[in-house]
């Protein structure tokens, strides 16, 4: 956890599950900082696009996982205020 208020692990789940999770989280905890893990290939594009559409702030986006394991992305996002 990178000082986030909550972790959302959506590895293994297909589009649009990761951004659905962000949509739900911004209803229940507006303004919170969440860490989202996703390995769906669409997440790379959809998470930044969702942030732009919703007025959320994408604090960081990094690729994680190693040479021997599958890779995923870790997004840290400040959800929009209500």
């Amino acid at each position: 956890m990178s000082g986030a208020d909550a972790e959302l692990d959506y590895r293994g789940q297909r589009c649009p599950a990761p951004i659905v999770a962000l949509g739900r989280a911004s209803r229940s905890t507006p303004g919170a900082v969440v860490e989202l893990l996703a390995d769906d290939p669409a997440a790379e594009f959809d998470v930044p696009a969702w942030c732009r559409l919703r007025g959320a702030t994408l604090l960081s986006a990094i690729e994680a996982g190693g040479a021997d394991t599958a890779t995923w992305r870790v997004f840290v996002i400040r959800l929009p205020e209500a």
């Binding site: 297909r14 589009c15 649009p16 951004i19 659905v20 949509g23 739900r24 209803r27 769906d40 290939p41 669409a42 790379e44 594009f45 959809d46 930044p48 696009a49 969702w50 732009r52 559409l53």
Partner: protein, 376 residues
């Protein structure tokens, strides 16, 4: 139940004019046009007439027309036979997969001592329009043998600034190949090209494709070694003749038919704007008349396709979950928009207002239902 077909980029039935023309042509032009006998000459004459008709229909009488059995073979040949073969081609990041593949093939299947430089791709803005400054910089760098651009993007509709692109190309003496595979017969084509690729499918013209080459533009007749190795095949003369007749008929209906398409897509764009959290892509004004793409937030594209199909409506999608490759659309990724929940409408030649009304009636309740299922 009558179907509402709004996925014409996947094909559309040949029009009655085209089917009739093909049956007639098959009865006389059945021999290989290269046969040195009367029967071959009959075919050859018909093929030449078809070429003349196509050149005239695209506003370039006197241009050379070469027919192919498919869009992929036409693009492959055009990329290989135009421009300088020792230099790489430049495309944009949003060109259709068949274009990007043709360019990659030309670069990789080579036994020359120094293969042409790797294909380079010009970036686009949020509407999907080519960044002219990037293209200018690539041309200024040199080592560009050919520039390829679409008339308009098949996924988001945005048209490209072909006039400015051609000016840049001319300044560097590089030919411009324009992919009109979506636009042919559907709008008045711009004149800013050195060579043009057409797909008869766009005007309900059956199975044929063509490359139109302006007089004075270099077209290498001898296919290069790598091109000769590809099974491009020859089209049937009857298919070419029928496609040419179909193009003439479609062009005769312009610009009224393009305006009809434009209005239908405009009302669809307006209707979609009333649905919460739908992002409609591309330029509202400078676009292909018959194409629109949009993304529906929080909804699985595949679920929408299945449910719409059940209600009798066929549309397409560029979302990862809805395509064979499992990869999100490179076009949507490049313009930085949502790749999930994507739907794509391409009007067939026969589209009516009732088709748009049907989609606009079914989509909002379906979206609401699918969102409710995920708690949004």
């Amino acid at each position: 139940m009558s179907r509402v077909f709004l996925a014409a980029e996947a094909g559309q039935p040949a029009s009655a004019v085209v089917r009739q023309a093909r049956i007639q042509a098959e009865s006389s032009a059945w021999a290989r046009p290269t046969l040195r006998a009367h029967e071959g000459r009959v075919s050859r004459t018909m093929l030449e007439a078809a070429g003349t008709a196509v050149a005239t229909a695209v506003g370039a009488p006197g241009a050379r027309v070469v027919f192919y059995p498919s869009l992929v073979s036409a693009l492959t040949a055009a990329v290989a036979q135009l421009g300088r073969s020792d230099l790489g081609a430049v495309t944009s990041v949003v060109d259709r997969r068949a274009v990007l593949d043709a360019v990659r093939r030309q670069t990789s299947t080579t036994d020359r001592e120094s293969p042409p430089s790797a294909p380079r791709q010009v970036g686009v803005d949020r509407l999907g329009r080519i960044r002219l400054d990037e293209l200018a910089a690539m041309l200024a760098d040199g080592h560009v043998g050919l520039v390829v651009s679409a008339v308009g993007n098949p996924e988001v509709g945005t048209t490209q600034p072909l006039q400015q692109i051609r000016q840049l190309c001319r300044a560097h003496d590089v030919p411009l190949l324009v992919d009109a595979s979506m636009a042919g017969g559907r709008m008045e084509l711009p004149a800013d090209w050195d060579a043009l690729v057409l797909d008869a499918a766009s005007w309900a013209g059956g199975n044929a494709a063509a490359v139109v080459v302006r007089p004075g533009v270099r077209w290498r007749d001898e296919p290069s070694a790598e091109l000769a190795a590809l099974p491009l095949g020859a089209p049937s003369v009857a298919d070419c003749a029928a496609a040419a007749l179909g193009l003439e008929a479609a062009v005769a209906d312009l610009p009224a038919h393009a305006e009809h398409d434009r209005r239908l897509i405009e009302s669809l764009r307006e209707g979609l704007a009333d649905v919460a959290d739908v992002v409609v892509h591309g330029d509202t004004e400078r676009r292909l008349p018959h194409v629109v793409g949009f993304s529906v937030l929080y909804v699985d594209a595949e679920a929408m396709l299945v449910e719409l199909d059940r209600k009798g409506i066929a549309v397409a999608s560029g979302s990862a979950c809805a395509v064979e490759s499992g990869q999100p659309s490179h076009v949507l990724a490049a313009i930085g928009t949502l790749t999930s929940g994507n739907l794509r409408v391409t009007l067939p030649l026969t589209a009516q207002r009732s088709d748009i009304d049907a989609l606009l009636a079914e989509l909002p309740p379906l979206v609401a239902q699918l969102r409710a299922e995920v708690g949004l």
